[in-house]
Amino acid sequence: MNVSVDIRQVVKRYGTVTALHGVSMAIGENEFFTLLGPSGCGKTTLLRCIAGFEDVSGGEIRLHGQNIAALEPNHRPVNTVFQQYALFPHMTVRDNVAFGLKMKGMGLAERNARAGKMLEMVHLSAFADRLPAQLSGGQQQRVALARALAPEPKVLLLDEPLSALDLKLRQAMRVELKQLQETTGITFIFVTHDQEEALTMSDRIAVMSQGHVQQIGTARDIYEAPVNRFVADFIGETNLLPVTVESVAQGVAAVTLPGGHRITCAAAGMAPGPHHVSIRPERLSIVPTGGDLDVVVERVVYLGSDLQLLTRLDSGAALHLRMQNSARGQVPAPGTRIGLQLEEGAARLLAD
């Protein structure tokens, strides 16, 4: 992997508040890289450090090997799609898109031609002569995208660009953005707090929390092999159960679940003692009672294509699971007792 943006131990303090505590990540060329985390975890701060709107308090950011700390924002080959778009209200859509090209010294005819092409790409050719205020939110978002892409930056920073759109438009834009990234070959650093967005679009995801990077990996990595409780809990739905690790031998741990049920999990360098396991709800299936994992159904929640069953172990620990909403399966009524079975490898032992 050719590294495009190399973030090394970046610290950012605002007075007494520390927004980033030594964040490191290496983002590859042509990568769709997502920063994912709850509100206030420092995603925007990190983007602003890369764009140059904030000076880092410690560490360094390298762009293609060059430390860019001394470069003003207008000298960084990086463009941003702002969360609130920040379109220039007094310029037409075309002039907005052509602004970066004009600043780079491109002639009028050439830059208008290029702006026209960009607008075509985001399906807004018919709106070139309008002012931003005369567009809908989704259209403004696409203008912001076209404006940031027009100067062909090496890296495009996107700060929750889809958050203001309704669900349908958001889903359509996800596909368009991904295609755009693939055809242009530009490195995308995409900020979101919507995990579904992150999982569907990203090559890799950095999960952040409170100014720390928790885990970096592909969507599959962080969904199926979360390294800690925060990641397991934040990404998707999961059951976090307190367990006891009895023994560890050759990377395999013998684990006792709250009901006394014993399973084995992959364990990388973990000591015996109290821990947590994460079990995804879709990896539990219903079997006849009498096994070790018998539960009482408390509620059945209708989710459309799926049903969610909220159940409780005899020990009092809650477990929820999913079943497909098909005519074939019998839906257990609340109050009934059912048995559960864990899929092979479904329980993931967590470090903390």
Binding site: P73, Q84, A86, L87, F88, P89, F99
Partner: protein
């Protein structure tokens, strides 16, 4: 300036029918304090002057004739353009224009500075700006004259420091008048620009920098166009009263700096006055100002796409 009120639908329906009577005090105010005085002035400008001030009710265009036309000292030469008053008008426009420019150059950074302070301290800065205006304009202007006269504190301290040998002749110069106008009207520039800058979305400046614009280019291409309504409002609020000002030119300037305001003032003072001529001057001044404002409003509504 454009778009004060939403366009209402059919006359006298719903909203307007209820609000109509409530607007009566407004219309009365406009009638008594705006329409009536202007109408009165217009009428007076067409009357004949009485020698000890006042008017005779004989309709004539003599006042306007006096303003624009000369027939020589004894009135026996062929009619020609009278340049004296046009010259005074021209000089006044020039003075007011310079005062407006100076207020803008000082007022914009001031407004910018205040608008970019933390919200809590903005109120304090605005308050500080307005403190001098608690004092009557006449007293402030006279004080300014004391400050800059030959043996005033400014010249004394400059001479005391050995920076100059003799006093700087400031009183009775254009510079002194400029200083007076600047000092009188600066807040009228600062406040509307402040209001515009406070609403300015600084993410726009970041977006411009992100798209390779330098600070200077960002100011020129983004900031100034976006806060333009505030700048225009400030310029109008300074230019119009500067044009008709008479305190600063009277007290700080001399015969060389005679401005429209003083010319009009003189026509209504004592037995030397000429009320119809003063009224005519005021009408001409008002027409000039109206033309400028209407031209601006037209251009503005065209720029906004109607």
């Amino acid at each position: 300036m454009a778009g004060f009120a939403p366009k209402t639908g059919a006359e006298g329906t719903g909203y307007t029918r209820i609000v109509g009577p409530l607007l009566l005090p407004t219309w009365a105010m406009i009638g008594i304090f705006l329409v009536l005085p202007v109408a009165l002035m217009a009428v007076y400008s067409f009357l004949t002057k009485e020698f000890r001030g006042g008017v005779i009710w004989d309709f004539t265009t003599a006042a306007y004739d006096q303003f624009f036309v000369t027939r020589g000292l004894f009135g026996d030469e062929p009619a020609a353009i009278e340049w004296t008053y046009i010259g005074i008008f021209w000089r006044s426009i020039w003075q007011a224009g310079v005062a407006t420019l100076v207020c803008l150059i000082v007022g914009f950074p001031t407004a910018w500075f205040i608008a970019t302070r933390p919200p809590a301290s903005r109120q304090l800065w605005l308050f500080l700006i307005t403190i001098p205006y608690w004092v009557n304009l006449l007293i402030r202007t006279v004080s300014l004259k004391f400050l800059i006269r030959d043996n005033g504190p400014l010249n004394e301290s400059l001479m005391g420091l050995g920076l100059i040998d003799g006093p700087l002749p400031l009183v009775n110069t254009n510079l002194a008048v400029q200083l007076g106008l600047f000092y009188s009207y600066l807040p009228f520039m600062v406040l509307p620009i402040y209001a515009a800058v406070e609403r300015y979305n600084f993410a726009l400046s970041e977006a411009a920098a992100d798209l390779y614009a330098s600070r200077w280019v960002t100011l020129r291409e983004i900031v100034l166009p976006v806060v333009r309504p505030g700048i225009i409002a400030g310029c109008i609020l300074v230019f119009v009263p500067s044009l008709g000002a008479f305190l600063a030119p009277d007290l700080l300037g001399g015969a060389k700096t005679f401005m429209i305001g003083s010319l009009i003032e003189e026509q209504f003072k004592g037995s030397q006055g000429n009320w119809p001529f003063g009224a005519a001057c005021a009408m001409i001044l008002m027409t000039l100002v109206m033309i400028v404002l209407i031209a601006y409003a037209r251009q503005q509504s065209r720029a906004e796409g109607g």
